[in-house]
Subunit: 317 residues, 2 copies
């Protein structure tokens, strides 16, 4: 399977992503083997409020990168994305342009109940796509929710979508994602209020003080009509070049890896428990005792942590 993944076989890639998503027993050895083959793909996180048109933009960006002879991977971790199966039929049809293209691989990630956290699962999926030779990986995620923001933070370039006149909620959200955007896209810019949003974004950018010295680009698009897409790709590529020349590029990469390692450590400790029958049973018993107020959850967690390590030790013997 590794061989098939490395030569970019879609079916093998899909299968391996399922394995790493579920943290199956063999996931780790696969990921270890793939890692030396990674480092070429450029990851773009695309985030914004529900209804800002993320999926349509991702679809168009994929098309534009395809025309530049890039192989494109799309990972949708947005529960409202048609890619991830959350939305209605109309959206699905809208998105088919990409799903029929043999040079574009589309994958949705479960946004609920993913055992080791969404950021861990997404980063591992990006590792697979990177090793499989995809040049660009677009990660679509809704700009609300802690885990979703964590996901987008692991991308090398972060694209934040805004739309005219979406009211106070978007204003609130904007403040939170403002700090992390490398490129701001004002989508649906044919709607009234586009000038106002652009002025607001520019005002915020003027006040911002990024450690890398990058002044985020602002691009207007009408993704549904394909307008502004090339300008958007140029803005992404502009940031990419800036970053390559920047001394702080390494600092950002180290920071990304730090978050990733913590996430991996977290997911590993519960996986050790849940892959073992004894671990699962003890968890069940302790949960029942906590519900009965027979033991406090903090002491119970300590016991489970100790059990997790002894299970790991036993397994490795």
């Amino acid at each position: 399977m590794l061989h098939d993944v490395l030569r970019g076989d879609f079916r093998a890639v899909a299968r391996l992503i399922t394995i790493v998503e579920n943290e199956s027993a063999e996931a780790n050895s696969y990921l270890r083997a793939l890692f030396p083959h990674t480092g070429r793909a450029f990851t773009v996180g695309v985030t914004g409020a529900p209804g800002s048109g993320k999926s349509t933009l991702v679809d168009r960006l994929a098309g534009a990168y395809r025309r530049r002879d890039n192989r494109v991977g799309i990972i949708a971790v947005d529960p409202t994305s048609p890619f991830s199966g959350g939305a209605i039929l109309g959206d699905r049809i809208r998105m088919q342009s990409r799903s029929l293209d043999p040079g574009t691989f589309i994958r949705s990630m479960a946004t609920r109940g993913s055992l080791g956290g969404l950021a861990r699962a997404t980063t591992d999926a990006v590792t697979v796509l990177d090793a499989a030779g995809f040049d660009i990986v677009l990660v679509e995620t809704v700009g609300v929710g802690q885990d979703e923001v964590e996901v987008v933070r692991t991308a090398e370039a972060i694209l934040v979508l805004l739309v005219p006149g979406m009211g106070d909620d978007i204003q609130a959200m904007k403040a939170g994602i403002m700090e992390i955007g490398d490129v701001f896209v004002i989508n649906k810019s044919d709607h009234s209020g586009a000038d106002r949003v652009e002025a607001e974004v520019n005002a915020l950018i003027a006040m911002s003080n990024r450690s890398d010295g990058w002044k985020p680009s602002v691009v207007r698009t009408v993704a549904s009509a394909g307008e502004g897409i090339d300008a958007c790709v140029n803005a992404i590529e502009g940031f990419r070049q800036f970053q390559n020349a920047s001394v702080v590029k390494r600092a950002r990469q180290v920071h990304i890896q730090k978050e990733r390692l913590l996430e991996l450590v977290r997911s590993r400790v519960t996986r050790e428990l849940l892959r073992d029958r004894q671990g699962v049973e003890r968890l069940e018993q302790l949960a029942a005792r906590v519900a009965d107020r027979d033991v406090d959850p903090y002491s119970a967690a300590d016991e489970l942590l100790t059990l997790s390590r002894s299970l790991k030790d036993r397994r490795e013997e």
Copy 2:
């Protein structure tokens, strides 16, 4: 401080929540000491899309419970909530009715970068409020995002807000939160389209097949005008009584505690690393080496897991 918390002193409660939120060294012993005093509060999770009027409804529900002589705690984990400081001035003013009431305690939780996960931090804060004698704890969270959904899942009753005509995105979201709602509130029900949403919700409820046999209630409100609030409280209380009589109540509680224990185990393992200088330095070194592709992240995570335990052992000696 524990004494002050137990007699419900707001300042002590606020201070202790900060301690548990940050997982300070002394947090655990406080939580252990408080746990025997918990079990009385009833926790209601309130979730819905941005713009559905969650904060206004929470404000009104708090008022209604206050009139029934309950002490009310509010925890806002919604980045778009005025309680949590995400929104603009107009919203803040709208919410002041509750913030001036000495029988209502309001607390916002950080939705980003909370070390051990949002669900862990929120559950610990609920523990503090429970021990401090609050009868009702309302947890407001946006209905998008994995962590936010996890938060609301730990509540004893889950209230899902819907609004007329919010389009496809809400439709998509609705599918995800449909399964977890005990009470559905159609807010802004004076807007056109309320009948249609109600019919859709009822159709989904008719098809649902809950293991506890509860048929979720549907209530119409205009929270901003205070309409339907008593009906909403009655629906919550109806579910509470049903649940008390139900044989599956315990199963739900055990499930909640199971999730909580896993969350605690996860947060504990990284806390052991990050509270120690050696752990922080090694994490930094390994992240740099991963960024340089000098070591793969999976081996690095294994090393950190081993280090985490030896740091814990050393600390406990």
